[in-house]
Symmetry: C2
DNA sequence: CGGATAGTTCGATGAACGTCGTAGTTCGAT
DNA sequence: ATCGAACTACGACGTTCATCGAACTATCCG
């Protein structure tokens, strides 16, 4: 059995690697949009199990990965839990108004 | 053979029927995003055959229908050609900043 | 150590989507 | 009336994607 390797620290795109298309694709799913809304309305970060969405845990992990790879969220690992937060600064800098416009939507 | 019926006037969603999710899905495709960019950068409306995208005409029609049903564009019929334009007013009213944020994206 | 908790990974599956070609319809011009 | 131009509609095909359950890893706590 191979020696245990320290977890690959979970790659995030740099600000200049974030594309508007990936962000739009990430936001276009109802579950992920709900997650982003919860993050935007929350004072604190939200852990994987802290999201209120009607999917199983494995599906939730998949959505988190999609948002992460698109550059929409970052995760801070603490023990076994990962606290997620919106990359507001980066998104606002790259696409000013986009996130606010989405969040302003009545539905 | 049935008598020729005047073209069903091609239904568009009312402003209050436009959902942010449908708009995001519509914008999330590279071809459609290119079309929206061309519309935004154009002084005039653009006909179906006026878009510069690497797809066949039937595919283009499909993308136009997607944008239309999402409430992103309107079409004005003149003879056999349909001139398309962005629904800037409606989109800006519903999701202020969204469209500008997307169009401001370097890529 | 052993158990519980938090996430991830891995197929598998079914639905949605982008793409195309062909055929059809409407309209304008010859 | 016939032809061509501009789209639209339909059916088909392959890919991507959201979803799930089950197995797995890692961490924390008695």
């Amino acid at each position: 059995m191979p020696a245990s390797v320290p977890l690959p620290p979970l790659a995030y795109p740099d600000r200049d690697e974030i594309t508007v298309e990936a962000v739009l694709r990430a936001l276009a799913d109802p579950v992920r949009l709900a997650m982003v809304r919860q993050l935007a309305n929350s004072e604190t970060e939200i852990s994987c199990s802290g999201f209120e969405v009607p999917v199983t845990k494995s599906t939730l992990t998949h959505h988190l990965a999609t948002l992460r790879q698109a550059g929409v969220i970052v995760g801070r690992q603490v023990g076994t839990t990962r606290y997620n937060a919106l990359r507001r600064n980066d998104l606002d800098a790259l696409f000013p108004g986009l996130l606010d416009g989405v969040l302003a939507a009545p539905r």
